[in-house]
Point group: D2
Chain length 257, copies 4
């Protein structure tokens, strides 16, 4: 039974309009199909419906990480809901993992990492801009995983505080400057992930990975193509996201001799 | 420190040759760079190196789910390492989730699901062919997650035994025949995932989802493009996987009136 | 030296603003960088510049078929500048070819076909809606190839008037209904091209091609990905066209026995 | 009626086996379905069938430029049948065009350019390696367009002999070194096309185009995805070409001041 603070995904059969939100006693949502009272959702269960004051139906669905990261309140430009799954799977993250991330940004990946490491895992996220750290914390609270995260306002040029972590992700403009630092933090044989938007950055990153003796390097990009859902007229959507960024993965080794 | 049964990913700096295996006292691996004794790996740590009898180095790396699913011993044709992340993220799976899957096949997705639900979660996987059930169990044992999985040799035409599960995935030729059964098993507002290789199957699936009153339907395909890792010659690989299958996702509702 | 009626492509170095137009004595173009008099272009040559009344430069470039088809005045929904090259090449069209097309639509493909068949070739284009025939003729006149085209306002259910043509292209909702008619018009061993937006239409088209004994069938789709042109930040554009249509090609044979 | 030297495309309904060849009296083709005598094709027409000595049917089809460029005898690595249409359309080539190309390579693009410029047009192709020039000439002879081409064995570092050409295409490892030379050869406002396989080369090319004051620059890549042609199981092919090269286009202007 849904209660205060729970997160719900509302979906309208009429228009496909959607809302992702945390319930708050006494609050309301303005939709173009009428007003929904949070109190009308509290006490119901996922899968049930709620009606606007004009009688329009919205279904109360469980939100998933993809929708959450898509709709997160953001101040940063780079987004990558479509990359999240690949990052989690390629970094070898799972329940109990310890993961370091930099920069925190709006916390989209932070929340995803915290989701997948579970209560036994831990996420350490760095950003030198305090406002992002705060925003990311609020976003993680919405997904109810902030307690698994340590938000650090700190420049990683000074290095990471952690040692022996299972995975590390860099989403910064100049990842090549932090590859030695990343190596210090990562457990042996563990995976570093990097997101860069341009091929010029791939070039510098690959040079850095070689210099710092990372192994098993992979560079990839993901394209997701959505289809229209009319059974009689199956075809991809007219427009698609053409690019968010390139993903680079590599593993650390103790010493190359 | 690595011990008997642990899983390791070996990577050769010379040739890029790789091996993914569970350590077994007294066993050996034949590579084109010479023979590696498992006993030479046992007692070492991830990130260290091991040498073949000819002196060639292999690094001992932690395997990730992507590599594991790519190299799984398989008897079935459909493979989808690249889809695994999207499936996990879109189904809303995480530590503690209960998930139903059919068919088990070679257990590639089974192992991934079991990985991400953690020790508090549970995976129920159905296949009517006993040999696949056995193969999948062995594969899950290799990844050390078989204890989180219930392997069922059973035709789902009779329905699923579970109720109120968090997510359900169908990888069968005729998913439209089991949509009512899937609904009985799924918790309200929860997510059904489907993989179909052809657009004809998308058509029937979409018709079925409409008939059985699923909501928030999405159809997508994923393209992953790997790049060569020469910093001075950045370019995608000549060949890429052009297709594995289409992913369909939808949510259940209690009753549409 | 440019004269009245000539077609020019104007390009602004400041903003990248572009205009494609036929020169007309006494006319002017309103741009957000000021007004350009056609008379200031007439008498100049391609590659030179013209200035707006506010002093902004526009370069006078030769238009190419890709830009022309992109900017054509249209009343129809389907567009396919990116497919034009593949169609021309796959249909085996060249100087001197005779080609039949249906429907005419806005004349985007008509103009391209007429461009490539040259003065020795001939294009016969069918549409039952007179307004499209008129629009397409005006568009072909702009590209100065209307004299190579016969515009026919006619339902192809009655068949094509031509025989022994080198290639035939169908861009209609139900191409499968005209496959016998197409065969009558095509020379033996020649190529039929079809554009359909949905996979349901591919299905019916493939069934029709089999029934009517076409051979060497191919189905394909084209994705064009544009890159940003900043040398220091090379990356694809954020958004790309995800779909226009599927191309189907097949060859006729005299009789399959 | 087909005669000696004519080019035919043979297609087997049994196996989909294909052959592209110029007829030669007295010659024969060995296929895995039996031997075909050229003399059995001479005198027939496109669209008819020919039988092997074992009775297997092959249809005699008209070859198109796409098939020709795919099957051309080659000594060079880079191939781009899928790019040919886009190159022709983007360069503004048509009947009567004069075009310069470097390097000649195996003559795949040379033949295509010569095809589209017709008997009134002219192609000038440069390569410093005589063996390629010879191979390309033989390939163009097969397509019966060699008379439209001037094959030059010459280093373009010395510049092009032509002036005021309608289009120029560079397929060389270092196109940025020839941008001033290309400008001298091109008519004002005309189009330069470049193919480069790596993003590092895009970077240098973009810098060169800026330095040499080219305008209206575009960078793109093309992906062609073939589908299986089973109407009941519509789906893309498992594997696709992931990369051949990036296309760069730009226009010349007389002088930027």
């Amino acid at each position: 039974m849904l209660k205060d603070k729970d997160i719900v995904f509302l979906w309208s059969p009429d228009k496909g309009d959607t809302f992702l939100l945390n319930l708050e006693k006494g609050s309301k949502i303005d939709t173009r199909l009428g007003v929904i009272q949070h109190d009308d959702i509290i006490g119901r269960s996922y899968g049930e419906e709620v009606r606007t004051h004009l009688g329009s139906i919205f279904y109360i669905l469980r939100p998933n990480m993809l929708e959450f990261s898509r709709r997160i309140k953001r101040k940063t430009q780079i987004i990558y809901p479509k990359e999240i799954g690949m990052i989690i799977v390629s970094l070898g993250i799972g329940p109990g993992s310890t993961v370091v991330e930099c920069g925190t940004g709006s916390g989209s990946l932070t929340a995803a990492l915290a989701h997948f490491v579970g209560d036994e895992g831990r996420v350490y996220t760095y950003d030198k801009r305090e406002e992002f750290s705060r925003l990311a914390r609020r976003n993680c609270e919405k997904w109810n995983v902030a307690h698994r995260v340590e938000f650090k306002v700190k420049d990683i040029a000074e290095g990471f505080d952690e040692r022996n972590v299972d995975a590390l992700f860099l989403d910064v403009p100049n990842p090549w400057d932090y590859l030695e630092r990343a190596k210090e933090a990562l457990a042996g044989g563990s995976r570093l992930g990097i997101l860069v938007p341009t091929t010029n950055q791939i070039e510098k990153t690959l040079e850095g990975l070689k210099k710092h003796e990372y192994v098993d390097v992979q560079v990839m990009e993901l394209l997701v193509r959505y289809y229209k859902i009319n059974a009689q007229r199956i075809r991809p959507e007219d427009m698609m996201i053409g690019h968010t960024g390139y993903l680079v993965f590599a593993s650390t080794v103790r010493s190359v001799t």
